[in-house]
Amino acid sequence: MPDEIKPEAPKPEAAKPEAPKAEAPKAEAAVKPEAPKAEAAAPKPAAPPKAPPVAPAPWEGDLVTHMKNRFGAAILEASTFLGQNYFLVDATRIEEICFYLRDDQKFDMLADLTAVDYPKKEKRFEVVYQLYSFPRNERLRLKAPVAENESISTAVNVWKTANWLEREAYDMFGINFAGHPDLRRILLPEGWQGFPLRKDHHILTQDDQWVRENLNIESGQ
């Protein structure tokens, strides 16, 4: 990501009641001072053809400094996008990072844990942790890239929420969470083939197979 944008202090995600009421369409938003980030991003040519008004910007702040001091190279990226901060971290040290964030930085709740599949990237999956801190009233996103046959260590020991959420991520993406006490499918039946939320999983495959076996017809669609 280009770095010439003015860094912004980490700001907790909040509604913008003071945001301009008359909304500019997207193209104009780049010119209008709608959000400070948009203004900063304006002169910069972005990758997609239609210049998007917003793009992730590097994020600096106490938390980033602490994290970088403590984990160094394990923090691959610290950015902010539309007021939401996230770290891209090394998956091998995820449990350590989680413990640090929970105990020292008071991110005491894991709101959500999921994954996103980017088949074209070198490390295919991005496990996304959505943290929330009650004392700081602040959200933080952790993203840890994991390759298809790698495993990432579980966060169950840090937050018990992770138990079911990791099971769901396993169920949908086939990501292996090492050390999870009970890693098996949760939403889909035990005998299910494949991992449906992967981009290469076509929704009809399973259906067609089932229909062929059980109803003796070619396709259910």
């Binding site: 907790p12 995600e13 909040a14 509604a15 913008k16 009641p17 945001a19 301009p20 009421k21 909304e23 500019a24 369409p25 997207k26 938003a29 709608e34 959000a35 948009a38 990758a47 997609p48 239609k50 998007p52 008004p53 917003v54 793009a55 992730p56 996008f81 539309l82 939401q84 005491d108 709740m109 894991l110 709101a111 959500d112 999921t114 996103v116 599949d117 996304v128 959505q130 009650f134 009233n137 959200r139 996103r141 937050w159 018990k160 929420t161 138990n163 079911w164 959420l165 769901e168 949908m172 009970d182 499918r185 949760i186 939403l187 889909l188 039946p189 449906p196 939320l197 981009k199 929704i203």
Partner: protein, 381 residues
């Protein structure tokens, strides 16, 4: 070994007095009080729960996969079908998430109407919860009173957008429908009547000694456990954490309204009941304020015909009746979302069921399932 016994995996904390007394029973997926198709495999010592295992997914429709195959606009009706008891809240969360990533803000009038409908929906959802919860504990009658009031809300929805349950009432950027003539009046009349009705429910339940015995000290969960398990919504507030996203990280036009966040102390079923009852009153309060100062103006922001949000990802969460409902939307600047992740409050809250029912009796399982207020459409998605 029965099938249920194979499903149940012993928990390290399981212990029994005498092995010979154990039975493993299946509660659900067809059971009158598992609120749909939840299946809980219970290990019982007599009637005491010594372990439980939730089996979910019977209602899995792959909403997240559907999202990747629909345009942003087309996916909107599907979110209504997750928590079908609170379809409007789901829709609000989704629309706001997309608006956020597009850096669009809905016009004030649209926001006010959104708040009114969402709070009405919160009441409707809580009414459904109250009726079924009371029914689970054996009070047959409040269910019908609750449904009567809920019907009034559904009539407002029907008049407003033409559908009662899965309303599809909001659109990305604002509203599709302008309010109808007499909308404010109908809402006000409902609000005035409703406060008396809540008192009536309280007469039937709150003071009743049987109700107190059945709910006090049942399904206790501490604030620390709540946070550990990611439990949000009334369950968290029942445990004494004063946290409501409407206040903590306000969205829509909630900062414009005055309301309180009710909390409990003990984190038992009774506290959660009281919290939800009070939340209904607070919702009425918000609605009245919103109706009183609903501004004029457009109801739709200027958004492009084809919605193509910029590359990036956004997490937006709202306070749904069940808890924190979050949407993680990943966009690749195409017309279809790259990934939509729904953070379902019911799913996360349900994962705390096990610690809440351990050591209680079978009858309490029913009470605790009721008090978590799950909607299986959302748990399984």
């Amino acid at each position: 070994m029965t099938e249920a016994e194979t499903v149940y995996r012993p928990h390290p904390e399981d212990h029994t007095f005498l092995d010979s007394n154990e039975i493993v029973i299946n509660m659900g997926p067809q059971h009158p009080s598992t609120h749909g198709v939840l299946r809980v495999v219970l290990r019982l010592d007599g009637e005491k729960i010594i372990g439980s295992e939730c089996v979910i997914g019977y209602l899995h429709r792959g909403v997240e996969k559907i999202a990747e195959n629909r345009t942003y606009v087309q996916f909107n009706p599907y979110v209504d079908r997750m928590d079908y008891a609170a379809a409007v809240s789901n829709s609000l969360g989704y629309c706001e998430a997309i608006e956020k990533i597009m850096s669009v803000v809905a016009p004030p009038r649209a926001q006010y109407v959104r708040v009114i409908l969402t709070e009405l929906n919160r009441i409707a959802s809580h009414l459904l919860w109250l009726g079924t919860h009371a029914l689970d504990i054996g009070a047959l009658t409040p269910l019908f009173y609750c449904f009567r009031e809920r019907e009034e809300i559904l009539k407002i929805f029907e008049n407003y957008c033409g559908a009662r349950l899965t309303t599809h009432s909001f659109r990305i950027g604002g509203l599709q429908y302008e309010t109808y003539d007499g909308f404010e009046k109908q809402v006000n009349v409902f609000c005035d009547d409703f406060l008396h009705k809540v008192d009536e429910y309280e007469t039937l339940l709150t003071g009743n000694r049987i109700w107190l015995q059945r709910t006090k000290g049942i399904g206790v969960i501490s604030a620390e456990d709540c946070i550990q398990y990611g439990v949000t919504g009334p369950v968290l507030r029942g445990s004494g954490v004063k946290w409501d996203i409407r206040k903590a990280m306000p969205y829509c036009c909630y900062p414009d309204f005055e309301f309180d966040i009710p909390t409990g102390q003990n984190g038992d079923t009774f506290d959660r009941y009281i919290v939800r009852m009070e939340e209904m009153r607070q919702a009425v309060r918000i609605i009245k304020q919103a109706v009183a100062k609903i501004p004029d103006g457009p109801i739709m922001a200027k958004i492009p015909k084809v919605i193509k949000p910029p590359v990036g990802e956004i997490y937006h969460s709202i306070e749904a009746p069940k808890g924190e409902l979050g949407y993680l939307v990943v966009s690749d600047n195409s017309t279809q979302p790259y990934r939509v992740r729904v953070r379902p409050p019911s799913f996360v809250n349900l994962s705390a069921l096990d610690i809440m029912i351990r050591g209680h009796l079978v009858a309490d399982v029913v009470a605790v399932i009721g008090t978590i207020d799950i909607v299986l459409g959302e748990v399984d998605r």
